[in-house]
């Protein structure tokens, strides 16, 4: 009975740099996936690429690949599938190739692209694709001139194609997260992307969804985690999948964390709207037919993910410029800390107003006073709270001026003001998220194996 072991060593750009190494070392994997793209990562990468045509991908992947080299020598059949390519998968693959050469590894790298719609945006709009906001119904015209990135979420088919073409490492741009797992499974088991295989694609999608956030399946964020869960060396998730789509979820031996029906159920429903219709480019998966069962210590058996059809659209994630923001913090302590924090927030904003600076949006929070957790009612007056003030405005100069208003409170604010050690908060440009749909027929995924 052929089984494929796929482990995900990275849930997002910013996740542990050691996890992929440890997982590849101990996971007995056939495939290592590495997931780098959150909703807005592409906008940051787009700006990098605009400044430097050889940039625009998740550079952490190159560090990870370098450190994986000895393991790749020991495990010649280990494949890597990653969306680290971001806005420039080709440049990422070229750099990865250089690392392979230096570390004397013989591997074929394939690039999956075609997700980047920006170069073709005008033509697509002229052809009648509306890119209407999926959440608000607003027309794309309202943000068109401020768009910095627009990417379709490609599916597993081009990944499977890349592996079929002989790739050992597949570097993609934007793809649906679960597709990083579905692609290798479709390739190994010979599944076609047709109606007859939709249930298996759905089962594989469940597997991909469970591992795409890394440690979130193996004890991370588990409501009942405690010190004995040993998250300090949490193992990252591995699915071992059979040809009919059944699989087990586990983690490497001798690692911390936990894999049980609770951790898996929590991750199953994470970022899900209607669980009977989890939309991916490969299949609309029905999570309500999934059955979870503890098979042994830290191993959960999963079966039953089924298909609810497949759509003829790709989700498109666009990012557009939407002003600037900054947030600063101070600690207020002593009696009446909460009240002093709120007064301090008002003082700060009123001083700016007196200088002629107001903001389109501002927010004052007293962290520790119940401002973060909705409907919480702290029983007593905390001895200290963190004042946080955040502003957003279309004028960068106003936001920069705001960042200079925290320090004065250290001598002209209230007694017990402290915690100003990190300097002025940074101003960051805001890229707002614009979700829409586009017909699959309008997008052409491209697979290229590079030398």
């Amino acid at each position: 009975m052929k089984r494929v072991r796929i482990g995900n060593g990275c849930g997002f750009w910013g996740d542990s740099l050691d996890a992929p190494i440890r997982l590849a070392q101990a996971g007995r994997l056939d495939v290592l996936t590495l997931e780098y793209l959150a909703e807005l990562t592409m906008s940051i990468l787009a700006l990098q690429k605009a400044k430097d045509p050889a940039a625009g991908f998740a550079t952490d992947f190159l560090d990870v690949l370098q450190r994986l080299a000895p393991i790749l020598h020991e495990q010649p059949k280990l494949k890597i599938v990653t969306n680290a390519g971001g806005m420039n998968p080709r440049a990422c693959a070229v750099k990865a190739n250089e690392i392979l050469a230096v570390t004397k590894l013989q591997r074929w790298i394939a690039v999956v692209s075609g997700d980047d719609l920006l170069p073709n945006l005008r033509a697509l709009l002229a052809a009648g694709h509306r890119l209407t906001n999926l959440d608000t119904g607003e027309p794309f015209e309202s943000v068109k001139d401020r768009v910095v990135s627009a990417n379709a979420y490609l599916g597993a088919a081009p990944i499977a194609e890349a592996l079929a073409a002989g790739a050992d490492i597949v570097v993609t741009g934007r793809v649906a997260d679960a597709s990083l797992t579905v692609g290798p499974l479709a390739h190994v088991f010979g599944w076609q992307f047709d109606a007859a295989h939709l249930d298996r694609l759905a089962a594989a999608t469940v597997a991909g969804h469970l591992i795409e956030c890394g440690a979130q399946a193996t004890g991370g964020l588990w409501i009942n985690a405690n010190e004995k869960t040993h998250l300090e060396n949490v193992g990252y998730p591995i699915v071992e999948v059979e040809a009919d789509g059944r699989f087990t979820l586990s983690k490497p031996e001798n690692t911390g964390g936990a894999v049980n029906v609770e951790t898996v159920a929590e991750q199953l429903l994470y970022e899900v709207a209607d669980p009977a219709k989890y939309f991916t480019p490969d299949v609309t998966a029905n999570f309500t037919t999934v059955q979870l069962e503890q098979a042994s210590q830290d191993v959960v058996a999963v079966r039953g993910g089924t298909s609810n059809g497949v759509t003829d659209t790709y989700k498109v994630s666009a990012a557009y410029r939407d002003g600037y923001m900054a947030a600063g913090m101070l600690v207020l302590s002593g009696p009446n800390a909460v009240q002093k924090a709120r007064w301090s927030g008002k003082v700060l904003l009123e001083r700016l107003a007196a200088a002629g600076i107001t903001f389109e949006h501002s927010r004052v929070e007293a962290l520790g006073a119940g401002d973060v957790v909705p409907s919480s009612h702290p029983a007593c007056d905390p001895p200290e709270v963190v004042l946080r003030v955040a502003v957003k405005d279309s004028k960068r100069a106003a936001v920069e001026r705001f960042t200079k208003e925290f320090a004065p409170l250290v001598t002209s604010g209230f007694a017990g003001t402290t915690g100003y050690t990190t300097g002025r908060p940074p101003v960051r440009e805001v890229f707002a998220y614009w979700p829409s749909l586009i017909a699959k027929s309008a997008v052409v995924p491209h697979v290229e194996v590079i030398a």
């Binding site: 959150a38 909703e39 807005l40 959440d135 964020l221 409501i223 009942n224 936990a258 049980n260 029906v261 609770e262 159920a265 929590e266 991750q267 199953l268 429903l269 994470y270 970022e271 899900v272 709207a273 209607d274 669980p275 009977a276 999570f287 309500t288 037919t289 999934v290 059955q291 979870l292 039953g304 990012a319 939407d322 923001m325 947030a327 949006h361 501002s362 927010r363 929070e365 962290l367 973060v372 957790v373 909705p374 409907s375 919480s376 946080r388 955040a390 502003v391 957003k392 805001v430 890229f431 707002a432 998220y433 979700p435």
Partner: protein, 117 residues
């Protein structure tokens, strides 16, 4: 009336998609799930989070995992890209809802978490 926090009989996790959040509440037992199916409605959740101004709350059932999944639309003040809250993605929502007090159910002993994992 004796009350207990929802966490006595359920666990869960919250997630985000743009400006929306989902909160999955997962009962520990079938008995607890049936109780929550009747009592933990979308209206109850909407009211509990009234400060966060969700435009609409929808509830979905995932009986296979004893789960009730709530979608809270437009609750994230712009979401990860634009919210000025420190918790841009609603990471606190599941724990917050689990702290909501409910009337202690008659069969509460059949609804608690059993054993350790």
């Amino acid at each position: 009336m004796k009350t207990v926090p929802l966490s006595t009989i359920a666990h869960g996790r919250s997630g985000d998609k743009g400006n929306h959040a989902n909160i999955a509440i997962i009962a520990y037992t079938e008995t607890g799930y049936q109780h929550l199916r009747h009592s933990l409605t979308a209206e109850v959740v909407k009211l509990y989070f009234v400060e966060w101004n969700s435009t609409r709350v929808e509830r979905f059932e995932a009986a296979n995992v004893l789960g009730l999944n709530f979608m809270l639309y437009d609750v994230l003040a712009g979401g990860a890209s634009r919210s000025l809250r420190i918790d841009t993605q609603g990471k606190t929502l599941a724990s917050a809802l689990l702290e909501m007090h409910i009337e202690a159910p008659d069969r509460i002993e059949e609804m608690r978490r059993s054993g350790a994992s």
